[in-house]
């Protein structure tokens, strides 16, 4: 299957891409086949504009613009609320609709290019708070992409969560094809991909470690988030750099009409958000902060043994945007978050991300939208050990400077062409050790690694017929490894045979890749569609993790002269059906994915402090396939969904399990999710989620022996066993205390793991305490019946 894709499809796809573009360049006949439409071919004009929320000024993403006189013709706003349509000259009626907002209709005499900005009123949504929204009611069926999930921020606020901390990353784990990387963990696996194969973008900036507190909470403060989209199938050509998924998160822009705010007080953290106009209607700001306060209670303790410890994290999101003129808009956004864990003065570790995005939206003309972004992103951790006056410090950092230029061109309502370039400069400081003189240790500097990643992409969203949509494109990517530094040549035993030194800025090696992307959908019967997609993606930043959960000290390494780019080829197909006026949605998808140049450790590898990291690694391939089912009720007092995934994920790594295919750690056969939300009355709403899955693959011993008078466990194969089945019920309730224009508030209650199932977090083995000549297995379970209460307010 894979070879066919590689050898045959690639040229065909390329040809297709090129022919498609030339087709659009001569601006194909649009409406001439429509009976009754006017035939004035030479006079074409563009209607364009921005659609915003009337009350907040926030631009609205995915608003549909329908043209009544030409059924099947329309547009949708892009990520910045902009739309553009070029139509033959005549009179039109345009309908602007967005779920949860009042529909607006405009009549237009199209005799010249027109700019029509629309402010939609969300007054209607106040009445129907529990309408579960999608961007357009039939998007499930009508969208071109399969394997895509738009995350509804309303739903996130209702689903019960651990410790009452609402979380985007926890919510997406309830979707088919997505699984948690561990109990209560924000790390996630998408369609058999590992945690590092997900590209997580916050306002376009990659977030390298999206977790707090060893993974129990995510870095995303849900109050600051406007929109989140998960691409688990074929990712569009504008995204690249990871092979499993893209989670594209956008922050709120801030209200440019009036001041307001919101906040919450929960069991472990408090958050506060303020937003408002800088200059009314023209510019706005938003500041959102969150901090945990468990350590404040520690401080109250008179016992220095307790008060001297620290354990907290915080997040700060800030964004400002300025409308400079009708054609220019500037955004400035940033995120800063850090965890701190300290044990007296003796030990401290802190880690966190910093990102910054400066973005310029510019309308080159009515049909051409430009988006320029300068993005900074930084993840680092710092460890300090002070042992009786001897100090040791470890610093690790990954830092990106990223410049993106994107264009969207709307030649006619049937084509939307996107193209652009992206260049990223990576600097990785792998874990430098510094020491005080008295410590008796020598400093151990590890080499910084430099690399330069470039990509060019072009894609077209093409409505071939009213029923057939095709999105095709290609991404050309390159990854250059730069000096200065020493690079190694290894023999077959992974031993260094030669070292080459490179000067600063010198090119060590460059990897080129061609990544075709294709999705197509065919809609029939008004409520059904079938979709298919193929995508190749590549990845040049690899995470070496030797723990089962996400760990702040996991190490990112770039591709090198030895480590080749990971590539993933995925084909998927799906059937989508909506029932009862789009109130019920059914999605079924199957996928097959082949991954190459996967990176794994040698048995017993030491990866923390080694310059010659490649000597500790093994390489191989992976494959993943599965079926995903999702049945969803999207409207009414009761809403929710049932998801089921049947999947397999396997690896073939040279040197592991005698070079045979074996189940990957994230391999899980059955996975069931049930989520329900019920609007009991005006004041009370209830929610529950239940998850069930069969166990992940795990390595257990198959025997024992003695060395050095100790009993040692004997392992015969990697991932040869299964964890027990996992299941858990979470329940929640929300009580609205006040509902008003000026102030509203509610109280949420939740219980995590409500029936107290003891799901094993780890299973371990040891000698029996009472009978030292026998060995036993034991499990540790976390989080049984964890209640939480959260007070939220909005003003």
């Amino acid at each position: 299957m894979y070879n066919i894709l590689r050898t045959n499809c690639l040229p065909i796809l390329l040809l297709f891409t090129l022919s498609g573009i030339s087709w659009t360049a001569d601006a194909g006949p649009l409406l001439e086949n429509k009976p009754g439409s006017l035939q004035i071919q030479n006079q074409r004009h563009t209607i364009s504009g921005t659609i915003t929320d009337k009350n907040t000024g926030e631009s609205l993403i995915g608003v549909t613009v329908r043209v009544l006189q030409a059924e099947g013709t329309g547009a949708a706003t892009n990520a910045y609320g902009f739309y553009s349509m070029t139509l033959p000259e005549r009179n039109y009626t345009l309908v602007f609709s967005y779920i949860g907002y009042q529909q607006q209709t405009r009549s237009v005499t199209l005799d010249e290019n027109k700019r029509i900005n629309i402010e939609l009123d969300d007054a209607a949504s106040q009445l129907e708070e529990f309408t579960v929204t999608a961007r357009r009611p039939d998007e499930n069926v009508s969208g071109t992409q399969s394997g895509i999930n738009r995350i509804n921020m309303n739903e996130i606020n209702q689903i019960p969560v651990f410790m009452g901390e609402r979380d985007v990353l926890k919510s997406i784990q309830l979707l088919p094809g997505v699984q948690a990387a561990g109990e209560g963990n924000t790390g996630f696996f998408v369609r058999g991909g590992s945690v590092d194969q997900n590209l997580i973008l916050l306002d376009g900036a990659p977030v390298y470690n999206a977790s707090h507190l060893m993974g129990f909470f995510s870095t995303f403060n849900s109050d600051a988030i406007k929109d989140a989209t998960l691409y688990k199938g074929s990712m569009p050509a504008e995204f690249g750099g990871r092979i499993a998924s893209v989670l594209d998160i956008q922050m709120n822009e801030g209200n440019n009409q009036s001041y307001g705010g919101s906040g919450g007080i929960g069991l472990i953290s408090t958050n506060l958000n303020v937003e408002g106009p800088i200059q009314q209607g023209k510019s706005s700001f938003l500041i959102s902060g969150r901090r945990t306060y468990a350590d404040m209670f520690l401080k109250l303790s008179a016992d220095e043994a307790i008060s001297g410890n620290s354990l907290y994290f915080y997040d700060l999101n800030a964004k400002a945007n300025f409308i400079l003129s009708g054609n220019n808009r500037i955004y400035l956004s940033g995120y800063f978050g850090r965890d701190k864990l300290g044990f007296q003065d003796m030990f401290g570790i802190d880690w966190g991300n910093r990102t910054g995005t400066l973005r310029w939206n510019h309308l080159i003309n009515d049909r051409m939208f430009s988006n320029t972004s300068l993005i900074f992103s930084d993840y680092s951790y710092n460890i300090n050990i002070d042992f009786d006056g001897d100090e040791i410090g470890i610093l690790s950092r990954i830092r990106d400077w990223n410049l993106k230029q994107e264009f969207e061109y709307f030649p006619n309502p049937r084509n939307t062409i996107k193209f652009g370039v992206n260049t990223i400069y990576h600097t990785i400081t792998p874990g430098e050790i510094t020491v005080s003189e008295s410590s008796g240790f020598n400093p151990m500097p590890l080499q910084d690694r430099y690399s330069w990643e470039n990509a060019f992409y072009v894609s077209n969203e093409w409505s071939a017929t009213p029923n057939i949509n095709v999105n095709y494109g290609v991404r050309l990517s390159s990854f250059s490894i730069l000096g200065e530094g020493d690079f190694y040549t290894l023999d077959e035993q992974h031993q260094v045979t030669d070292t080459t030194s490179y000067q600063s800025g010198e090119f060590v090696d460059t990897h080129f890749n061609i990544e075709p992307r294709l999705s197509a959908s065919y809609q029939f019967g008004g409520t059904s569609s079938v979709k298919a997609s193929y995508a190749r993606s590549t990845q040049n930043m690899h995470l070496l993790s030797n723990s089962t959960t996400t760990n702040p000290t996991d190490r990112w390494i770039p591709s090198s002269n030895i480590i080749k780019p990971q590539t993933g080829d995925q084909v998927s197909m799906g059937y989508f059906r909506n029932f009862s006026d789009n109130r019920y949605e059914l999605s079924t998808e199957i996928y097959y994915k082949h991954m190459q140049n996967q990176v794994d450790y040698k048995d017993g590898a030491d990866v923390t402090n080694s310059d010659m990291i490649e000597t500790e690694l093994l390489f191989g391939q992976g494959r993943a396939y599965g079926v995903e089912l999702l049945f969803k009720k999207t409207a009414g007092r009761f809403s929710g969904w049932v998801g089921y995934t049947l999947a397999r994920t396997e690896s073939l790594i040279e040197g592991i399990n005698n070079d045979n295919w074996y189940p990957a750690r994230q391999d899980r056969t059955h996975d069931i999710t049930v989520v329900g939300m019920y609007n009991l009355s005006d004041r009370w709403s209830l929610s529950a989620s239940w998850v069930y899955n069969t166990g992940n693959a795990v390595t257990f011993p198959s025997g024992k022996y003695t060395v050095d008078d100790q009993v040692i466990f004997y392992y015969t194969e990697r991932n040869g066993y299964r964890m027990p089945d996992y299941h858990r019920l979470d329940i929640g309730a929300t009580w609205k205390l006040r509902q008003g224009d000026k102030f509203s508030s509610d109280l949420s209650f939740s219980i995590y793991n409500a029936y107290g199932r003891e799901n094993p977090y780890v299973i371990n083995f040891r000698e029996n305490e009472k009978n030292p000549s026998a060995t036993e297995a034991y499990q540790i379970a976390l989080f049984k019946l964890v209640p939480a209460i959260t007070y939220k307010f909005k003003f």
Binding site: M444, N546, K704
Partner: protein, 266 residues
């Protein structure tokens, strides 16, 4: 680095209140028995000793019977060689020659149709200059731990193993170090023992054996430590220097010991 472990430990302490532990039944496969070889040539204590045992299934009792039908042969790069003689329950003894620094020793074990070989080069000894006991106070508890002090030779890759005995009882802890971080320094190697409640006490006799080991043996013991702690995501057998499919190790190393009694003023 042990920091990762320590940070996890702190976290585990935080969640201890809501986590719970229980004994469970896990249906583990049985595996074909494998030979386990432990052997050493040292520059002092004779007789040199090679021990051969076998793996057992997980749910069997921990009585590991010796393999007594092996042919054990050791040679060095100076032309000396000797067949080791089976003494008792899988332990084989050799008396003919002394271990000398700089020599490479090769072990050959034949058991029925199988042959296992391993080589190890005995490093130069490094002076074990001092053994002391340090007392510190953490969280109101007094903790004592032994330090082994020695001058690491500069410009040479050195690997060390320390074995701690408290009142003649051997501690199970594995202490190995490489001089990556302290090449050429006067090194103070801390050898932690016990925990807050159950540590060293005044009057205890501390004995430390210091070995200069070769790189393969350092790697064996550091990976053995990972196997014991199950600290890797995918636990595995330690990386042995024995070829032919046996577990265990064969080490040629130097040995020095020092002893101290913790005085009562502590």
């Amino acid at each position: 680095m042990d920091c990762k472990k320590l940070s996890l430990l702190t976290l585990v302490a935080c969640f201890a209140l809501i986590s719970c532990e229980q004994i469970i039944d896990v249906d583990l496969n049985s595996a074909a028995p494998k030979y386990v070889i432990e052997g050493a040539i040292t520059d002092s204590n004779k007789p040199h000793q090679i021990k051969i045992t076998q793996t057992k299934d997980f749910d069997e009792k921990d009585d590991f019977k010796g393999v007594d039908n092996a042919e054990v042969f050791i040679s060095d790069d100076k032309g000396n060689s000797e067949f080791f003689i089976h003494a008792d329950s899988g332990v084989y003894h050799g008396n003919d020659f002394s271990g000398v620094s700089g020599s490479t020793y090769t072990l050959t074990v034949d058991i029925e149709d199988e042959t296992f070989t391993a080589s190890s080069k005995m490093p130069d000894p490094v002076e074990f200059r001092e053994l002391n006991v340090e007392v510190i106070s953490i969280l109101g508890n007094t903790i004592m731990f032994p330090n082994a002090l020695f001058p690491d030779p500069e410009g040479i890759d050195n690997y060390y193993r320390h074995i701690l005995f408290v009142n003649k009882e051997k501690s199970n802890s594995i202490f190995v170090s490489s001089d990556d971080l302290f090449d050429g320094n006067y090194v103070e190697r801390t050898l932690p023992y016990g925990d807050f409640e159950n540590g060293l006490n005044p009057g205890d006799t501390i004995l430390v054996e210091m070995q200069s080991i070769d790189k393969n043996i350092y790697e064996y013991f550091s990976s053995l430590l990972k196997t014991i702690n199950r600290s890797a995501a995918s636990p595995a057998n330690p990386t042995t220097n024995i070829s032919g499919g046996a577990l265990g190790y064969f080490s040629a190393h130097t040995v020095q010991t020092r002893s101290v009694v913790i005085d009562n003023e502590n």
